[in-house]
């Protein structure tokens, strides 16, 4: 079971805020973050790594990125 954060269409710092909130309240070891700009993708990855959720998998699907982060 993974938690989903949909940050598509939101500009920075919203995707990072939402990702970090999800990490804080996570009861799962996997979070999926959807973003649609490269900047948001980089920022989310950087934020996840800083929280040691550093197993990261990125898939591109119809103009958006599906970033899976794990502890």
């Amino acid at each position: 079971m993974s938690k989903l954060v949909d940050a598509r269409g939101l500009s920075c710092p919203q995707p990072v805020i939402k990702t970090l909130n999800a990490i804080k309240t996570a009861d799962t070891s996997e979070i999926v973050v959807l973003v649609d700009t490269d900047t948001a993708k980089e920022n989310v990855i950087r934020a996840a790594k800083s929280e040691s959720w550093d197993e990261i998998d990125i898939k591109e699907e119809d103009g958006a990125y599906r970033i899976t982060i794990r502890k």
Binding site: G9, P13, V16, D38, E42
Partner: protein
């Protein structure tokens, strides 16, 4: 493909390159401690178009055109061009206008604040503290669910329009070039004295602008984001960029013997500490609520963000109001009208912060 400019080392290098190019632009003729100032340059461009008539600040700054076109090229080359708009454009317009008014009370945007300090102008310390406080207030709103809503993917024309406007401006300059000693050339105004009359040669300005636009788009360089991320997340990444800018500019100034420390008699600056501080509180808050410093808004405009473009148009309108209504400071200090506008701006920004909230 890995984006090397968005790494830690990349952002430091981009900041340093901007610092070096800024000081070189000053060396080649731009005003002192104003090698690159996004707010000032938009204000000068606004004046050149006759939207305000302050004779000392009228010149189409090629750096601005370069910023947008450089970012546009980077976005196209690296397939990051994404036409989008619809995230509270009218709010962004208002934020842009008040950001400009705040910046012109201080006499510079965050970019210039860093260059002023690197040139020894200690009044910039008050401005930077104000910027910090403004951004801090903004982060309180961000923590409480403030955002401007979701943007929408849209048709290409929306993404292209700001770049095309810049190309139009470039054509206008080429058709109406500066005439030595004349305050007007065709439809464009040119300062014959004051900061607007000081500029590097056109070709240097535009080339340096293109380089900065390209690098900044790739690295996501943002002077407001630098401080915001530090306060909000304790993330140093973007802050390293502005640190790179400051240190490179400082070293360049020392090498070129341009470092003149002190508060009094600093170029295009005043010593009214409280209004240097207050102006930047307003600007910092407005930038934070809009999600980017004035430079970042130009780079986003180049990569197709129609909302950022509206913020820039707001800044242009703000510059026109600032000079038409006498809100902008001068070397003599802040004006009464400017101080009134500052408080109106703060009230408006706080109202936006409180009302544009999503329950969390």
């Amino acid at each position: 493909m890995k984006n090397v400019l968005a790494t830690r080392r990349g952002i430091i290098c981009v900041g340093a390159v901007i610092g070096i190019l800024a000081i070189l632009l000053q060396y080649f003729g731009n005003p002192v401690n104003m090698g690159v100032c996004v707010a000032c340059f938009l204000r000068d461009t606004t004046g050149a178009l006759g939207l305000h008539r302050a004779p000392v600040v009228q010149y189409v700054r090629p750096e601005i055109i370069g910023f947008v076109l450089g970012s546009f090229v980077a976005a196209i080359v690296f397939k990051e061009f994404r036409p989008r708009t619809g995230s509270a454009p009218i709010i962004r317009f208002v934020l842009g206008a008040f950001a400009m008014i705040g910046a012109l009370i201080f006499l510079g945007c965050p970019w210039r604040a860093l260059q002023r300090l690197a040139g020894g102008d200690f009044n910039a310390i008050l401005g930077l503290i104000g910027l910090f406080v403004g951004i801090w207030i903004g982060t309180l709103f961000l923590k409480n669910g403030y955002n401007l809503g979701v943007t929408q993917k849209t048709r290409s024309s929306v993404g292209w329009v700001f770049t095309i406007i810049m190309i139009g401006l470039l054509i206008l300059v080429l058709l109406n070039p500066q005439i030595e000693g004349e305050s007007q050339s065709g439809v464009l105004f040119y300062s014959i004295e004051g900061p607007g009359s000081m500029h590097a040669p056109f070709i240097i300005s535009i080339v340096f602008g293109l380089i900065i636009g390209f690098l900044a788009q790739r690295s996501r360089f943002c002077t407001m984001g630098a401080i915001r991320d530090l306060i909000l997340f304790r993330h140093m990444h973007l802050f390293l960029g502005i640190a790179g800018l400051f240190i490179a500019a400082l070293i360049m100034n020392l090498i070129l013997n341009q470092f003149n420390p002190g508060f009094a008699n600093q170029p295009i600056a005043h010593t009214m500490h409280i209004w240097n501080f207050g102006g930047m509180v307003l600007a910092g808050l407005a930038f934070t609520l809009a999600g980017g410093c004035p430079g970042r808004q130009l780079f986003l405009s180049g990569e197709g963000d129609g909302d950022a473009a509206i913020f820039v148009v707001g800044m242009i309108a703000g510059a026109a109001f600032a000079h038409n209504f006498g809100l902008a400071s001068s070397g003599a200090g802040a004006t009464t009208a400017g101080i009134i506008a500052l408080f109106i701006g703060l009230i408006v920004c706080l109202a936006i912060g409180f009302t544009m909230r999503e329950r969390v």
